[in-house]
Symmetry: C2
Subunit: 477 residues, 2 copies
Amino acid sequence: MATPLTPNPAYKCMTKLFSHILLIVLFLTIVESQSIIESLPGYSGSLPFKLETGYIGVGDLDDVQLFYYFIESERSPKDDPLVLWLTGGPGCSAFSGLVFEIGPLSFDFDKSSRDSPTFKLNPFSWTKVANIIFVDAPVGTGFSYARSWEGYSITDTISAAQTYSFLRKWLLAHPAFHKNQLYVAGDSYSGILVPIIVQKISDGNEAGVKPAMNLQGYVLGNPTTTPHDDYNYRIPFAYMKALISQKQYESIKRNCKGEYINVDPNNTLCVNDLHTVTDCTQKIYSGQILEPTCSLTSPKPVGSKLDASLLGEDAIHLLSLTQVPELWCRSYNYIFSYIWANNETVQRALHIREGTIREWVRCNASLSYTDDVFSTLEYHRNLIKKGYRILIYSGDHDMVIPHISTYAWIESLNLTIATDWGPWFVDGQIAGYTMESYYKKSRLTYATVKGAGHTAPEYKPKECFAMVNRWFAYYPL
Amino acid sequence: MATPLTPNPAYKCMTKLFSHILLIVLFLTIVESQSIIESLPGYSGSLPFKLETGYIGVGDLDDVQLFYYFIESERSPKDDPLVLWLTGGPGCSAFSGLVFEIGPLSFDFDKSSRDSPTFKLNPFSWTKVANIIFVDAPVGTGFSYARSWEGYSITDTISAAQTYSFLRKWLLAHPAFHKNQLYVAGDSYSGILVPIIVQKISDGNEAGVKPAMNLQGYVLGNPTTTPHDDYNYRIPFAYMKALISQKQYESIKRNCKGEYINVDPNNTLCVNDLHTVTDCTQKIYSGQILEPTCSLTSPKPVGSKLDASLLGEDAIHLLSLTQVPELWCRSYNYIFSYIWANNETVQRALHIREGTIREWVRCNASLSYTDDVFSTLEYHRNLIKKGYRILIYSGDHDMVIPHISTYAWIESLNLTIATDWGPWFVDGQIAGYTMESYYKKSRLTYATVKGAGHTAPEYKPKECFAMVNRWFAYYPL
């Protein structure tokens, strides 16, 4: 008699059949929610790239419906890599990645008005050289929704699992892309999600899960890795960028003993020093320390998780502004996304399911989200052993996730140096610095983007495009 | 019999008379070389401010003829301070300070062409609140010239003495300004000259030299103080601004023991580390590390005195460019000064003496100049004891004279802190950081200008104007 662990051939066959039926049912469901979008309000004429939007259900009974925008490579969809792109937050919509960071459209601030936000083409879109799936994840982000309240309750682990499930189903529905080189990518808080997802893909491939994914590696920009350390590095960063003085820095180092997050409230000297830092930095736009800060919400002290101004919620308040402000602020540009994406015509054009979301926000800070992964360092340490290619980049004027924090954890991996820190160039100008390390077949490229903030492509689109274009093509930066 | 040291009354009277005659002769000579300029090529209509140009002879037999532009305060010439402004180099013309830094005119890059450089008004001119003498010093700078070859041979000491002599004579010729509060100011290499000149004025006043000067203090921007230290600080600055890696910085600190200028050529480890730094930084525009570098001359390694690109000599080479370049570089703007100031009509309008200079250059790097003052720290130390007001500011993205070097020498004065390092604001935005120290009646205000380069007002005119305006008015920044 066969043990329960070794089912008889008939059972195995049944299981296989059942699994095939499941895949077909799944496939049909997915096909139903795909739409090719040929034009969009705000862009005159047909879109000069192939855009598909759709939903993919994940979780119990597909309770969670993740919305995505898929844009085919404008070069050679068949040959170019396939990239799954996650915007950070958690809670920042894929649209933000698509329109403010690496996608083919961006708002034309000069030509946009409250009544008609207008797009222009981004000449530095990563879709010039890659097929990109921009996914609204986790649930509650952008146009993604759940069919039950329980569905909205989420953690890093659940989010990663659902996004992995999303990708698997997406690939099932898009067999044309099974052979493309696959990269998982994202920035900011995606630093937590991407390595977990990559690990899942890797594990899945090893376990023979279908579809097999042609995973090549991952890309992370200004990534959160170990939030405690990342935020702790804001203090030395503030010193290095002349926001606090040498004397203040030496005092806080001495009094807080290098720990600026978990501070003993009885350590008065340290607490006072932290107040000084707050006084010096709270009115700095931490996304790029040289930019004006225009948040109408109260500024958050250094040490808080992510800045409200970065999450862009002030956009809603800004809608009440009647005059064009004298000073241009990045957040003013974000207003258009709010207006555009909440417009009914737009939602019809995108094939958004009616009544599924109450209000679209660029970054949803009110997710029911619990952090349960406090560092992805071990994921990196593990993945580097598996032969993947890794690209990590940091805007060097970003105080949210300081480049020195990212540098420090990369150094801590103790990899062998292939190319030491040196400049990389775009148009003969230093675009930043890069170094490459390796472990057997794996390659980890780290690059700073000079003058860029959080996240880099928003500030230096040309340079970042040149960077990934070279990297996708296996060239040195 | 009277000793030679106590001349008899008749002799004293004769001397006094002779000295008066001398002053009158001097005065007449000076008056002859003053001209009021009501219009200038490149600016349509009458100048909306009062401009005077002229020459003042200094040195043996007035061998050296220093040219100046004097612009009256656009507010209240009688009440506003009088500022003697020196541009650095040494060898950078006063015109550079006037048109690229703190004066009422600036080139309209968009409307200027090679055939007609065009001015626009600078709304942030310091002449809105101060009377400013922009002097072409030392001899060989701008339109200043010597009548003999020997006159061109100069040192820091000679230059300071001649500029002091210039100021004395200028005041004699402008008795209306005897009562105005007097400040000596300048930037970059003027960090060497200004404190010496201030010391001379102070000494002169104490010795009863006429005219008595109503000296209140001095202003220095991105100043050279102890050139060795200033240049040495470029290494930690490069690290802090992410131009070299932490590992590279730690290595060079260890191998060179903190000394990056006077390096033992046999210390191979240190020499190699310096090469690494050069590789990382030589294509950085050291005047503002985030700006593109467009020098057509070979870049100079860190450690050289001042960057050729900063001195602007590439402007001459750039004249050969036939097309408007895609990328705007600061030095392209400098070209117009070369074209404008070498134009015959312009020189006639400025009342330049014919045949006195071969060619006007913005910054003359070929002066016959010998440094003989290797630090002005002792001057600062001495002057702070005398009750003067001192304003020092640094563009915090300047790698020529890093702000950390300026901060360090100010700290080394061991003054009492009146206000510790904290932000100062313009239009509700952090414009930089400031701290104020004192010694008895003296006040030393130090300010960084966030995002500014070398020199600060060229990059952040609005902020720098707000800064000096408040400071001249005895307000906190």
